[in-house]
Amino acid sequence: MPSIFSSRDDINSEIWRKNVTFQKGKSYLIEAASGTGKSSLISFIYGYRKDYEGQICFDSRDVRTFSGNEWTSVRQNSIGMMFQELRLFPELTAGENVILKNNLTAYREEKQIKEWFRMLDIDDKWSEPIGRMSFGQQQRVAFVRMLCQPSDFLLMDEPVSHLDDINGGIMASIMENEIKERGVGVIVTSIGRRLLMNYSEMIKL
């Protein structure tokens, strides 16, 4: 639970002050109202904020004990992340943003990346600087970037907030394919629009 909530006793949540386990091969939707700590939860799990109470464990190991290098390895090989604020580089083109990640992991063929771009209808934006693309288009780029690494889990913080249903649907089908083929676990958050998938579990934060 975020430290800032610790003085409150009116918390009514299925995660805070509870034991929750996420498993590989399953998909979870975390639904929350604004301000209930959804993005905080994601940042706790991804290890870039530590202002929480309680314990987060990967395979029974407390993440508070992870060193910087271990986090680097986790972010390269275990957890794919799609940030709510995307964290793309506006100076680079859409293609470069994805390649920058794929160079690090050497996980995907460029052909596969371009195929995803085509499926998500942004293949004409490959050489376009990110700064000149709409947020919805950027979300799709960030989505592809997330896939460019070996993963046990994929975290997606409001992935479809600016997407139409058609592209959301394509995204969902790619995700379901990933779950089926690679056996990844998927955790999606939403405050309204949700990625339309068959979730194994829906959790109210």
Binding site: Y48, G68, T72, R75, F89, E91, L100
Partner: protein
């Protein structure tokens, strides 16, 4: 691609400022070392026959002393006192001949003859090769060292005015002298050969063994106390030497102490120059560090995103580290080039002053430069790494 991202916000002006400042500092420091190395031999010119760091000491001859017949010789107590001084490595007495000598030279059909005066110092103060500088009883030729001034006096004064041939050092070495020794009612003739010329010893030296033998044979029996003492010192620039001599009313015969003082001043001057160079280097280093910090600060978002993408801090730090080390290395190379150029400008002048000027090469100053480079680079690498680690 990583570089394309990270080079954003690099300030060429700041890096240029650092580059120039560091170059100045580096060149000044290296030039200081180089100049000191090149110039100090001027003041340490060695007499090839005499050990390097020695001084010859006499007592002051005063008018009053001459009239009252005061002795200007060193008593054994005084010699022991000198020996006990911390700056004295070893002390040798000049032993004067207690017999009459005159030397004759036959050359090209002419003969010159003059009354002479011989002295000896302990052999370990003389650096002539051991097989040349020795005397055993009955030896035919006696090795002699004379002051170079004597040769000049002959060549440029005597020989010219009398239309006599001028002699080179090599020729003198081939000519043998006739030494007529008399005393104790005996008179003998010995052959002498000049094996060396001294710039700094104003006396005619023979081996101590010969002196002992001749003194006991021809000399009167009473031992004479030495009027001159030769001292080997560990550091001629040691100010205690000058103090000691002043306090006891001793005089040094040559300018060895002056040279020591000049060397000392040279050291101070070079030290000041190098200190200034180091300060400039330190300031420029500070500029670089601030510039890099500013750069990291401006790129904090990017660095954070890269780290969250799974880039390790060392990988993100690497481009900046390469940048700074590259700049430092360029500075080092240009500084060495500048050093070589500047040195070529003054080495012509030095070559005229110092015979056989080679210098010690630029190895010493380059070593200092490389050390500076390594220190600055290492510190940069660590500072950048720390700064980036602090981001997340």
């Amino acid at each position: 691609m990583l570089w394309k991202l990270l080079k954003q916000h690099i300030s060429v002006a700041q890096l240029t400022g650092f580059f120039i400042a560091n170059l100045c500092g580096m060149v000044i420091v290296m030039l200081g070392v180089q100049f000191y190395n090149d110039v100090s031999p001027v003041f340490n010119e060695e007499d090839s026959f005499i050990k390097k760091d020695y001084v010859v000491v006499t007592k002051k001859v005063s008018t009053l002393g001459s009239i009252s017949g005061k002795n200007s010789a060193f008593s054994s107590y005084e010699v022991d006192n000198i020996k006990s001084q911390p700056f004295a490595v070893s002390v040798g007495k000049f032993q004067p001949a207690r017999f009459k000598v005159s030397a004759g030279l036959s050359f090209a059909g002419m003969s010159i003859s003059t009354a002479m005066f011989l002295e000896s110092v302990p052999d370990n103060f003389v650096d002539v090769k051991a097989d040349e500088w020795k005397y055993v009883e009955g030896q035919g030729e006696i090795p002699i060292i004379i002051p170079r001034n004597y040769l000049n006096l002959y060549n440029f004064g005597f020989a010219r005015s009398r239309n006599l041939p001028q002699l080179s050092e090599g020729m003198i070495g081939m000519v043998s002298l006739n030494l007529y020794i008399s005393g104790n009612g005996m008179r003998d003739m010995k052959k002498g050969r000049i094996v060396g010329f001294s710039n700094r010893l104003n006396t005619i030296l023979v081996p101590e063994d010969f002196m002992n033998a001749a003194n006991s044979k021809y000399g009167d029996s009473n031992e004479m106390e030495p009027s001159r003492v030769i001292i080997e010192v560990d550091n001629p620039a040691d100010e205690r030497i000058a103090h000691f001599f002043n306090d006891n009313g001793y005089e040094t015969e040559d300018n060895k102490l002056d040279a020591g003082k000049i060397t000392w001043f040279l050291k101070i001057a070079v030290g000041i120059v190098m200190a200034i160079g180091l300060v400039i280097s330190a300031l420029s280093f500070y500029i670089l560090l601030l510039s890099i910090y500013l750069l990291l600060q401006k790129n904090t978002d990017k660095l954070e995103n890269l780290i969250l993408m799974g880039y390790s801090t060392s990988r993100v730090a690497l481009p900046y580290q390469i940048l700074t080390v590259g700049i430092n290395f360029a500075v080092l190379l240009i500084a060495i080039m500048a050093l070589v150029i500047i040195r070529s400008l003054y080495s012509d002048v030095l070559a005229e002053i110092i015979t056989g000027f080679e210098g010690n090469g630029i190895i010493m100053s380059c070593t200092v430069g490389v050390a500076l480079f390594i220190f600055v680079s290492a510190y940069n690498i660590i500072a950048i790494r720390r700064k980036i680690n602090a981001i997340l």
